[in-house]
């Protein structure tokens, strides 16, 4: 890896090339038109090329400039936090607001290095009550509150 002296720039460059290039390739299916009568493909292709170009500069530069390595202290929060949000998403329609909120809090709490399970259970219950009062009755949002197999829908 001695060749890449600025890993943050290098990978940002790679990301830009992939996204810009990808967008450009997809946009090949959209008609390009001409400057006077622009087709739907004109703007995306121009942007994609520009982005990929910038990415290339970043990659080339990363061989010369020196930068710190990217630090990954732990992947636990990334996985847990996003998992908890995902679980909320798959459960909210079927299980309702109360159960989803409790699930989200119970899962998300694990990500903290000061995790205490009793505390998170209490927090989950309190939040569930608060959320129902505030969003269901206070702001009258249209959300299923209870599991659909209990109340029937």
């Amino acid at each position: 890896m001695a060749l890449i002296r600025h890993p943050k720039d290098f990978w940002a460059g790679v990301l830009f090339i992939v996204l810009g290039g990808g967008a450009c390739i997809i946009a090949l299916d959209y008609s390009f038109g001409s400057a006077g009568r622009m087709g739907p493909g004109y703007f995306p292709r121009a942007l994609g090329l520009l982005l990929a170009g910038l990415g290339a500069i970043l990659v080339l530069r990363s061989f010369k400039l020196v930068g710190e390595p990217i630090s990954f202290p732990t992947f636990l929060p990334l996985g847990i936090v996003l998992l908890s949000v995902f679980v909320f998403g798959i459960s909210v329609n079927a299980l309702g607001l109360v159960v989803s909120t409790i699930l989200l809090v119970l899962i998300a709490s694990i990500a903290s290095h000061e995790y205490r399970w009793k505390e998170s259970v209490i927090a989950a219950l309190c939040l569930a009550v608060f959320v129902v009062i505030a969003f269901r009755y206070g702001l009258k949002l249209q959300l299923p509150t209870w599991p659909s197999f209990l109340v029937g829908s």
Binding site: P73, E114, L143
Partner: protein, 504 residues
């Protein structure tokens, strides 16, 4: 005296019972999220957007604006008491504010921050009222070419003033512009980048992007650092400041206010940059700069005034040109679009009550904030003692419900998870997400105006240079880029941002 009659009209709107209530709710919430590190105005406003559907447009905007400038007040409390910026714009306040607290002058620091913010808020309100009409007049002469050039200037300025790598910031803007393309093309009806998903045919909601990039990514990064939060729990007393101390701080407050007003108007400017510039200038012109960093009252007064006037001044480009200068204003565009108000120069003439009501509410909100932040400081101190492990699950719950209730659709929640991953990658690669959101908001507008301008000129790109206003704007953008690219300025800029990051 048109100004006075306009302000009177605005006060009439802002002082109705309902609007006072929403203003209060906004500044209260703003203070709350300002005090709490780890959640800022961007996700909060994004979260509340769906709720504003039901409100009258004036009340909705008054409340959302209150959150933004309220957060500037709240952020200073955390900066002074915990040495942590509750809000990114109070980074500089940490330096002298915390030192004052350590010397037992926490109450005085809090007082001067609130008083300075109030004075700044008052001036900024007047300035918005005075400068918005003439600017809107100019904006009415704008055609598609001018709009396109103006947006280019805005985006370039946002890049120049953002911290970190220039190339990465431009890349992030381009990425934002491209994300804005997703959905149905208005001219041809073609589905672009929807990958056959019907949920994407209306495009991605910016709330989804804001949640993922700002809220989720920030929580994840906070959790990765295992640091313990050290809370300054000493009793906060001695809020009263002596007349002599006030006299010492007053010039700093006024200078900070002025700097905030000027920098707030610039795209990409706003609160953070203003605070930083005000502190630096204050340190430069002080007779005895040795006191700075050791608890100098001016080191609190100047940046706190600047960030407040800066946040309010950033409403000017939004209200007059319809162009959001930062991410929070981009969300305000969203709030206006929800109520089918097209932000721009016509708002003032077609919706004078909304326009002047919003401006007048800012002053009322500032008054409320002084009361909220001084006599009730004890409550905010208590709040600071709530550990983060209890806070972030709550924030996540609110984010999820906010995202879901946008369209009662779980697809948006999944999408926000995806943007959470992307946001995390961006933090790791030191790519700032704010320009992306700005690009995302401006993207569709830019494409539309570019198409129209070139359609009118029959494909001749010289239209951007032959129309004088457009040419001026593009030249300004080019000059800005060249200036930053000069090696000498580049070094200065790097130094400036480094100094700013140190105390954090």
């Amino acid at each position: 005296m048109e100004l006075i009659s306009n302000l009177a009209l605005g006060l009439g709107v802002a002082l109705t019972f309902q609007n006072i209530l929403y203003c209060f709710f906004g500044v209260l919430l703003g203070t709350l999220i300002g005090v709490l590190p780890g959640i800022g105005p961007v996700p909060t406003i994004a979260m509340l957007l769906p709720i504003t559907y039901a409100l009258p447009p004036v009340s909705a905007l008054i409340m959302l604006a209150g959150i933004y400038y309220g957060a500037q007040y709240g952020g200073s409390t955390t900066a002074i008491l915990v040495n942590l910026p509750g809000e990114s714009s109070s980074v500089v306040t940490c330096i002298d504010g915390y030192q004052m607290a350590r010397r037992g002058k926490a109450g005085k620091a809090l007082s001067i921050a609130a008083i300075g913010s109030f004075i700044a808020g008052t001036f900024a309100t007047l300035m918005v009222a005075a400068f918005a009409p003439p600017l809107a007049e100019v904006a009415l002469k704008f055609g598609p070419a001018e709009y396109f050039s103006l947006m280019v200037l805005g985006l370039i300025a946002a890049v120049v003033l953002a911290s970190g790598s220039l190339i990465k910031a431009i890349g992030m803007i381009l990425l934002g512009l491209m994300l804005g393309i997703i959905g149905t093309d208005v001219n041809s009806g073609l589905q672009r980048y929807t990958f056959g998903l019907p949920e994407l045919s209306d495009g991605i909601g910016f709330v989804v992007i804001a949640m993922g990039l700002f809220a989720f990514a920030e929580i994840i990064i906070n959790l990765e650092h295992r640091g313990h939060r050290e809370v300054f729990t000493d009793k906060v007393s001695g809020l009263l400041i002596k007349w002599s101390e006030f006299k010492e701080a007053l010039p700093a407050i006024l200078r900070g206010t002025g700097i905030g007003c000027c920098l707030g108007i610039l795209p990409g400017g706003g609160a953070l940059l203003s605070a930083f510039a005000a502190y630096t200038i204050e340190k430069k012109i002080a007779k005895d700069p040795s006191q700075f960093g050791k608890g100098d009252i001016r080191g609190v007064a100047a940046p706190e005034s600047a960030n407040n006037s800066g946040s309010q001044a950033s409403f000017i480009p939004l209200l007059t040109l319809g162009i959001p200068p930062n991410a929070v204003m981009a969300l305000m565009v969203g709030a206006m679009t929800i109520h089918s108000i097209q932000p721009g120069p016509q708002v003032m003439t077609s919706n004078p009550q909304l326009f002047w009501g919003l401006i007048a509410s800012m002053w009322i909100g500032n008054l409320m904030l002084v009361i909220l932040n001084l006599p009730m400081i004890g409550i905010w101190v208590k709040l600071l003692q709530v550990p983060y492990r209890l806070l972030y699950p709550g924030i996540l719950v609110f984010c999820c419900i906010g995202t879901y209730s946008l369209q009662n659709n779980v697809f948006d929640i999944y999408l926000s998870v995806l943007f959470g991953v992307l946001g995390w990658i961006f933090v790791k690669l030191e790519c700032e997400p704010a320009p992306l959101l700005l690009g995302f908001i401006l993207g569709p507008l830019m494409e539309e105006n570019l198409r129209r301008a070139l359609l009118l000129s029959r494909g001749d790109p010289s239209v951007f240079m032959t129309r004088p206003l457009s040419a001026t704007l593009l030249t300004l953008a080019a000059i800005l880029l060249i200036i930053v690219a000069l090696p000498m300025v580049r070094k200065k800029r790097a130094e400036a941002f480094q100094e700013q990051e140190e105390p954090a």
